[in-house]
Symmetry: C2
Subunit: 428 residues, 2 copies
C-alpha cells in the first residue's frame, strides 16, 4: 500500500514518506517493544513540510517536483541490445560475484574519460565503480568523519547527501551561497570556528537545487581554503555532462595537486538511474578505505549493469548520445523558463541554469513560500519547497525548486499557468 | 593491475588484498598528505595471514577457498530471456529511479514465500529488497548500534559480516560454538557482562564457515535469551534454500512473537550473486529506519535485477530450479567429503553439512594449521585458514574452510590428493 502511494514520487519526496508512515503507524500500536535505535539513526527526522510532497503522487498532479531524468533520454533500445549480447556471449561474467572495485574495463574507460576531463590524476588517484553517485558520497563521509566532526555543505544543498551525512551523526554545517557559489568569507569563518572540520561537500555544476554553477575563481579559492585549513573536498558532479549552454568550467578535482579532492560522478543522468552505477576518482589511500567500506556495504555493484554501461560508453557513440540528451534538456529548460517568466509576476525571480535538471524560483518576501507550494499542489501543480534543501528546515527560505526534465511540454505550459494564477492571487 | 590479480579471488580472499596493496604502496611514498580517517575505518585492519590467499588467483592453483556459487547453477538462459522481455515491453520501468523499499511485485512475492516459510509475520513485519544480503546485515548494525555497544556473533563467523560490524566501531564479541550452535552458557555470560549488548548475529543454516546448523532447541533457547536480556537477533540465511539432505529446521524468525528478529535472505546462492539482490523481513519500525539508511546508501537496488528476480521466481518454476541446484551441490559435497576422507589421515576431522557451500576441517593439535594452509597453497591447493573467520586472528584455531561449490569434479579429486600428501608429511 505504501508503495502504490510512493511509486510516482520524486527522490526527495520519498524522504518525506517515511514520516507519513510513522505517523500513520503511531495511531495503531502493534507492538509492545520499544526499539533502542542508534543515536545516528534516532536523529534522522523527516519533516512535516515534506508532507506536501505526498500529493505529487496523485495522477492529476502536474509534478515539477521530480528529480528524475527524462525517460525519452534513456537509450533503451541500445541497452536491450547490449543486455541480449551479454547474456548470449558470456552470461557468467554478468552473474557471478565480482570484485568490489568494479568491472575492470569500465574502470579503465572512466579513467580515460576522467583523465581527458582533468578529473583523474594517475599519479595520485584511482577510480572505482559505486552503486550510484549516492554511494560515493556516503562512503566519503564514512571513511573520513567521526561523529560530531564537521562536514560543510552549500546551503541549500541536495537532501539525499545531507541525510546521508546526518546518518553518520556528523556536525553538518551549511554555508550560504551566492549565484556563483559559496560566500567565501562565510566559508572561511566556518572552517576557522567549527569543531574539527574535515570535509567540504559541493555540487559545482548545475547545483541541486539551485541549478547554478560555482565560478572558476571560487573553485580556486575553495581549493586554497581546503589546503589552508587542511580539509578534504567532496565534489559531486552528477549533472556536469548535461551542460546545454555556455562553456565548461574546470572541475575542482582538476585543481587538486595535494590529493584533497574526492570526485563523484554518475551514469544516472546520462544513461539511466535504475541501473545504479556511479564512480569515484580520489586519492589512492582514500579509495582503499572506501573499497573496504563498499565491500561490507554491498560487496560490489551489480555487474550486469556495469558491463552495460561500459559497452554503451565504448561502442554506442556515447558523445553523440550526450549531445542528444543535452538538446532534449535545453528545449525543456527554455520552454519552462519562458513559460514561467511569461506566466508568473516579475517579482518572482528565477535562476537561469546552463545545464542540469533544475531551476530555483524565489518569491518576494510578502509571499509565504510554504503556503504558495501548498496552494499550488492543491491546484494540482507540485514544486519542492526550498526549506527541504536546508539542514534545518525551520530556517528562513522563500524559494522553491522547479524540475524541467520530467514533465511533458504540455504539462509545462499548463502547470506554469496555474503557478501564475496562484502567485498573482497571493501577491494581490 | 590490482584487479587482474584480484579477479579470480573469492570474496573472503579479497578482504585480504587491501592489506597487500597497502603494504606495497607504503614502500613507495607517493603523497605528502597524511589522511585523517574516521576511527571506525582506521580500526579496519586486514590480516597478514590472508596473504596466503593471494596465491589462489594464480591459474595453476586449485581453489577450495572460494565462496562463489557454482556457475552451472545459474539460470543464464532464463535470465537472458527475461532481460530481453523487460527491455522490449517496458524498458523505462527497469531504467528509471524507483523506490527505496524495492520493486513492489518482488516484495509481494517474497512476502508470500517468507509467510509460507514462517519467516514473515504480516502482523509485525515488513519486507524490503536490499543490494544483496550483505546490505541487510550492514543496515541492521547501523540502525541499532552506537559505537562501542556490543554485537555478539558466532565464533567462527562470516568475515564479510564481521568486517561490516567493525566498520561501525561496535564492540564485536564472538561466542564459541558447538556442532549444533552456540555454547549457550557462554552466550548467556556474554549477554550478562558485555557493554550494552544489542544484537546477536547468527547464520543458523549451513553456517559460513563451518557448514553446521543450529538445532531447534538452541534456536528456541537463543530466542528466550534475547527476550530475557532485551536484545535483537540478526538471522542471516543465505544458504537455507540449499538444503540437499535432512529436514528443514524452523527459522529463528518463525519463533518471533515480540518483534525481535531481523531476517536477511538473498538471491545470490539461488539465482545469481552478480545481480546483488537480497531481502529483509523485520519488524516494521526497524524496516522504516533501515529504509532511511538504505536510501542514503544507494537510493534503491538496481531495478532491472529486481524485476529479473521477480519474473524468475514467479514464472520459471523456481522450486524446480532449487531442486536442480540442490542436486548439483549434493553431488559436489559428496564427492568432496568422500575424497577428503579417503585421501586425508583419520586424525583430521570434517563437519558433514546437509546443505550450503562449505565444510570445515580440523587438524590434530600436533599440526600447525597456518603452515598446513601455506604448504598446501605452495603445492597449488588453496583452503582458507580458519583464523580468517575469527574476530581476533591471533586466537587459537586449528581448522580450515573447504568450499565444494566452485571447483570442478576433476579438481576436487586432484586437490584432495595433494591435501592428503601435505597432511601426511606434516603428521609424520
Amino acid at each position: 500500500m505504501t508503495v502504490s502511494i510512493n511509486i510516482m514520487l520524486t527522490n526527495e519526496a520519498r524522504w518525506g514518506i517515511i514520516d507519513i508512515i510513522v505517523k500513520r503507524k503511531n495511531k495503531k500500536e502493534i507492538f509492545i517493544m520499544n526499539y533502542r535505535f542508534s543515536d545516528k539513526v534516532t536523529g534522522l527526522q523527516a519533516s512535516a513540510i515534506r508532507e506536501i510532497l505526498k500529493f505529487t503522487s496523485l495522477p492529476q498532479v502536474i509534478s515539477f517536483a521530480a528529480g528524475n531524468p527524462a525517460p525519452e533520454a534513456f537509450p533503451s533500445e541500445q541497452i536491450g541490445e547490449i543486455a541480449a549480447k551479454i547474456m548470449s556471449e558470456n552470461p557468467v561474467a554478468a552473474l557471478q560475484y565480482s570484485i568490489t572495485e568494479g568491472y575492470m574495463p569500465l574502470r579503465e574507460t572512466m579513467r580515460k574519460r576522467l583523465l581527458f576531463q582533468n578529473s583523474y590524476n594517475p599519479e595520485i588517484d584511482d577510480v572505482i565503480i559505486t552503486s550510484g553517485g549516492q554511494q560515493g558520497n556516503e562512503l566519503a563521509c564514512k571513511v573520513l568523519l567521526n561523529e560530531h566532526e564537521t562536514l560543510i555543505c552549500e546551503s541549500p544543498s541536495f537532501t539525499g547527501s545531507m541525510t546521508s551525512f546526518k546518518s553518520y551523526n556528523v556536525n553538518l554545517v551549511g554555508v550560504p551561497c551566492e549565484d556563483d557559489g559559496f560566500d567565501m568569507a562565510a566559508l572561511e569563518n566556518t572552517l576557522k570556528y567549527a569543531t574539527n572540520p574535515k570535509l567540504i561537500y559541493v555540487i559545482p555544476n548545475f547545483q541541486n537545487p539551485t541549478g547554478t554553477c560555482m565560478s572558476l575563481a571560487k573553485r580556486k579559492k575553495l581549493y586554497e581554503l581546503a589546503c589552508a585549513y587542511d580539509v578534504m573536498i567532496l565534489e559531486d558532479n552528477p549533472y556536469g555532462e548535461i551542460r546545454f549552454e555556455g562553456d565548461n568550467i574546470p572541475s575542482v578535482k582538476s585543481l587538486d595537486t595535494e590529493g584533497r579532492v574526492i570526485y563523484v560522478g554518475s551514469f544516472s543522468k546520462v544513461i539511466a538511474p535504475g541501473l545504479r552505477v556511479g564512480f569515484v576518482s580520489a586519492p589512492k589511500d582514500i579509495i582503499q578505505k572506501m573499497v573496504v567500506c563498499k565491500q561490507v556495504a554491498d560487496v560490489h555493484t551489480n555487474i550486469f549493469a556495469q558491463i552495460i554501461c561500459n559497452e554503451f560508453v565504448n561502442n554506442y557513440d556515447f558523445d553523440g548520445h550526450l549531445a542528444k540528451i543535452r538538446e532534449i534538456y535545453k528545449k525543456k529548460y527554455h520552454l519552462m523558463i519562458s513559460e514561467l517568466e511569461k506566466n508568473l509576476p516579475d517579482s518572482i525571480k528565477f535562476t537561469h541554469p546552463q545545464g542540469g535538471l533544475f531551476l530555483w524560483g524565489t518569491l518576494p518576501d510578502s509571499v509565504d513560500m510554504k503556503l504558495f507550494c501548498k496552494t499550488a499542489v492543491e491546484r494540482n501543480v507540485a514544486v519542492v519547497p526550498g526549506v527541504a534543501f536546508l539542514i534545518n528546515e525551520n530556517e528562513k527560505c522563500n524559494s522553491f525548486r522547479v524540475n524541467y526534465s520530467t514533465p511533458s511540454d504540455e504539462n509545462i505550459i499548463k502547470g506554469t499557468k496555474i503557478l501564475g494564477d496562484v502567485a498573482r492571487e497571493m501577491l494581490s
